[in-house]
Symmetry: C2
Subunit: 358 residues, 2 copies
């Protein structure tokens, strides 16, 4: 009876997706998502996930809604397994209702696992009374989805690969206001990809080029880090295109071969190079494990670029993103379980130095 | 006065282009076209060059006509340099009028250098009285264009890389009638490519993946040789796609990056894989250093495939090829210089065992 009257403990978190400039491809440990190499990304503002986690002591099983629809079995199972890790940490074993909304349409080919697992990690740990540092949150988010480790923080982020669970987490490289870059995401295909990232990561090791890729990553990381620090856009652009190609080289040469590119992907890659050669607006491409092209540009060229991108054959739409800030709690009600923390907490930049470390 | 009355010494040769299943990419010696690795190809029948070489003791300089048009300066210079090699061998220093006709339209994106230099080598050596073995012809043709070394012979051909001029030439693997394969060449773009093969070969070494490619070639050669011998089409198809990707991996990751693919290239690569998955007509792709796609198929599936290929967006036309026979002389008039050999000589299969070796 009283259950319908009291407010259930819940928290809502927002986390931005991220676009990697040095890519995560291949795991040292497939279960723990400890990667073979470090990676560098930029958190995105307009591509984000807002997730509310509400714990019900009497709910028979976890429930998950994504963009207003009940999620499929595999997604519920994956989210539930992630909550188990957090419940084990908190030693509280209530079931949860998870309501997750992406800022981008489902099936736009934009991966929601990075922002989704970052938001879920932050909201769930908050409700269950775990006050974790960003490194700890990044480590836990990583267990749900590797790239989610980079969506806990904002701005430019580097994921230190480590070699074990304990030392594999992201750290900030530069804040969101360091460099005014934009990511114009060109939607090429909204088809569900046949080979997901998880399968891709495990196939990586079958490519005859994968060892060579790993051999270049340490220098690539250093070069990208420096280009970001010095805001050298031309150097940066060349590096990220080379690195995107290196990821896709590994995928298209794995056994079996995975060709994520579609005609529109190549049309835009070629167009960007042609526009640069012709003195047009300057943008550089990078692609995750899918056909969509992320065009990275300086804000001054963004409008001209976006218009030209929309005219490239095979581009269905664009999503315009600036640099996002860190994942943060935007609403919470923790009273009924006595955590005394009902104000809106934040893991944004303004509080990041005051977070307790375990 | 008498010059207008006598017939000039001349010979006309035909040579087929070839499509490589294991690719030539990168040189040990850029001047001599001694390659970094061996390669395997199939000579094509319908994509061929017919070249007449007519020597004029009084012509001030070599002349070259391609498909009825005077060739540009660079092409004349390259052909002339090739004739110099043959003139040096024969110790006869007359200038030549070269009339060359390709069976495919100029600028269709089909390379004519393999068939062109094979035909030129055969015709010019014939007129100048050099009776050379196929190995010798292959070596000389190689100096004009590396892949021309594989167009002297017919059927399935392997180019032994050697390590010096003397030991780098093609040898026959299997005759044209060994296996009834076809090559449906899908013309994707007729634009002149920005980065030619010669530049590509020298850029190969700048790719971080090139060493890994070289490390796989010896096993690839053995596997392709075996698949041809056993006529195992499924194994063969998978190998040639992997190898084509390996070439393009090297090109797209070179510094600067060279992306030969166009949207239609990727559309057809994806379509071929989809048709195979769906039980449709089976074809496998391979691409040289350009956007056109060579669809290799068994003849029984050729008609169905060609129709589907023409419906793929970005495919402008197709050129249907069977397996070609060896380069051969189809007309000659050697009298005026007294070689006593005015009948139609042939380097075709019927005579290959009777050719003198030096």
């Amino acid at each position: 009876m009283y259950k319908t009257l009291v407010t259930l403990p819940r928290a809502t978190a927002i986390a931005g997706s991220n676009i990697a400039f040095v890519k995560y491809w291949g795991n040292l440990d497939d279960t723990l998502n400890v990667p073979m190499n470090g990676s560098i990304s930029m958190t995105l503002d307009a591509a984000h996930t807002i997730t509310t986690v509400e714990f019900h002591p009497d709910l028979p099983a976890d429930e998950l809604t994504i963009n207003g629809q009940p999620a499929d079995w595999a997604a519920v199972k994956r989210a539930s397994a992630h909550l188990d890790r957090i419940r084990d940490l908190a030693r509280k074993y209530w079931s949860a209702r998870i309501i997750s909304t992406n800022s981008f349409p489902t099936g736009a080919g934009i991966a929601s696992s990075a922002s989704g697992f970052a938001a879920l990690t932050l909201a769930a740990t908050k409700v269950l009374g775990l006050n974790l540092s960003k490194s700890e949150l990044s480590r836990i988010a990583r267990l749900g989805s590797g790239s989610a480790s980079r969506s806990i923080d904002g701005g430019f982020v580097e994921w230190q690969p480590g070699g074990r669970h304990e030392d594999s987490h992201a750290t900030p490289l530069a804040p969101a206001n360091h460099w005014d870059l934009v990511d114009i995401i060109a939607i090429i295909s909204t088809e569900h990809k046949k080979v997901g990232s998880s399968m891709g990561h495990s196939l990586a090791h079958t490519s005859p080029f994968y060892q060579a890729r790993l051999g270049t990553v340490q220098v690539m990381l250093q070069s990208v880090r420096r280009a970001i620090k010095e805001k050298n856009f031309t150097a940066f652009g060349k590096l990220i295109e080379e690195e995107a190609i290196s990821l896709h080289v590994s995928a298209m040469s794995s056994r079996p071969s995975v060709l994520y590119w579609q005609p529109g992907t190549v049309a835009l890659m070629q167009a960007l190079r042609r526009w640069r050669d012709d003195g047009g607006p300057v943008g550089y491409f990078t692609m995750d494990a899918g056909p969509n092209v992320h065009v990275i540009a300086q804000r001054k060229h963004a409008a001209a670029l976006q218009e030209k991108i929309l005219n490239v054959q095979g581009v269905q739409d664009t999503l315009f993103c600036g640099i996002g800030s860190a994942a943060r709690i935007i609403d919470s009600d923790l009273h009924p379980f006595g955590y005394g923390d009902s104000h809106v907490a934040s893991l944004g930049k303004d509080t990041q130095n005051r977070l307790p470390t375990r």
